[in-house]
């Protein structure tokens, strides 16, 4: 096997390992995500008047928030956890969204898949074009 073939096989291997690692990391991150509703909490008296816990900001979304202090004790109608948006703002927390994880891991994953296929195909082509060393002629047995 030529050195170039080995190099492209190594590249393909990097692509394969990268693809698997990306998938593992993304799956691991997504596993920590919860369905979350960001809420601007209402003052106690205002909540008593209107019956609203607060003003929902945006639709419920799968996010990763590790700071437990950000969560409100109540839950939403669909069982989503409510997050105090004022707390997030005050502490400069910008929650990671599952759609961002999926988007980035998808791009990186396709990149690694491309690398894997490229390395594999080039290595195969190099190997195919290389003339095979002919075996020594055997003298016919009388």
């Amino acid at each position: 096997m030529k050195t170039a073939t080995k190099l492209f096989f190594a590249l393909a291997l990097v692509g394969l390992v990268g693809r698997i690692a990306t998938q593992v990391v993304a799956t691991n991150m997504v596993a920590k995500a919860e369905l979350i509703q960001r809420v601007k909490p209402a003052e106690k008296e205002l909540a008593a008047l209107t019956g609203d816990i607060g003003e929902p900001l945006g639709p419920p979304q799968k996010m990763i928030i590790t700071d437990e202090k950000a969560f409100l004790p109540q839950k939403g109608k669909e069982g989503q956890r409510l997050v105090d948006d004022d707390y997030l703002q005050k502490n400069s927390i910008y929650p990671l969204q599952v759609k961002t994880v999926n988007f980035v891991s998808g791009l990186v994953g396709y990149g690694f898949l491309g690398l894997f296929l490229f390395g594999l195909i080039v290595a195969f082509l190099i190997e195919r074009r290389t003339p095979k060393t002919s075996s020594p002629k055997q003298t016919p047995v009388a």
Binding site: E43, L46, A48, T50, E55, L57, G58, K99, T100, F103
Partner: protein
């Protein structure tokens, strides 16, 4: 004949009298505001492939009228866009730039709701005009309007007079308002965004 004339005259008199003494139900005027300005919220919601984001501000002023009996109302609301906060300072700056909202030249968005139609249980269909980045277009959307006559509860919440809680939302196409998303930002900002307004207004 004279008797008929008398009957007509009596009926006309009674009719006029009934008009004069009928309870006059008028729409009340409410000013946006309350004890806590933070409870007035305007948001822009974008849902793109890369991420969703919300820009929010509390700088909202305006007047609403509402007739609780007829269940109709109007609104003239102004939102200042200079301090729209998206959670990322760099994005806030981008949003204000001439490519996006051009907040220096067009510092405000204006909502003029001219027609409401009650849909039942505090829900309304709304029609009006939105002016954004110098462009005015007709909009339709939904709103929830709750009317709270002055009471111990409204006073406990530190409101003066009757209280109106309005939550409205409309969906707009950014390109309709000369906001063109650059190719590099198409996965980060959606072409259709939802504008939401949640305000308290009082007669006091």
């Amino acid at each position: 004949m004279a008797r008929l004339k008398h009957m007509i005259s009596t009926l006309l008199t009674l009719g006029m009298a009934s008009l004069t003494f009928a309870p006059v139900v008028q729409a009340k005027t409410f000013n946006i505001g309350g004890p806590n300005p933070a409870s007035q919220i305007f948001t822009v919601e974008s849902q793109a492939d890369f991420e969703d984001f919300i820009g929010r501000t509390n700088e909202i002023t305006g007047k609403l009228t509402y007739d609780a009996k007829k269940k109709i109302g109007t609104a003239n609301v102004t939102v200042k866009l200079a301090n729209l906060d998206t959670g990322i300072p760099l994005r806030n700056e981008h949003m204000k730039s001439s490519q996006w909202l051009d907040a220096a030249k067009f510092p405000e968005a204006k909502f003029d709701v001219t027609n409401t139609k009650a849909l039942g249980s505090d829900k309304y269909a709304i029609t009006g005009k939105l002016t954004l980045k110098g462009v005015t277009k007709t909009i339709t959307g939904e709103a929830i309007i709750k009317y709270f006559p002055e009471s111990a509860s409204t006073k406990a919440a530190r409101f003066n007079g009757d209280v109106l809680q309005v939550k409205g939302s409309v969906r707009i196409k950014l390109s309709d308002y000369n906001i063109l998303i650059p190719a590099g930002a198409k996965t980060k900002v959606s072409e259709i965004v939802t504008l939401k307004l949640s305000v308290f207004a009082t007669t006091g």
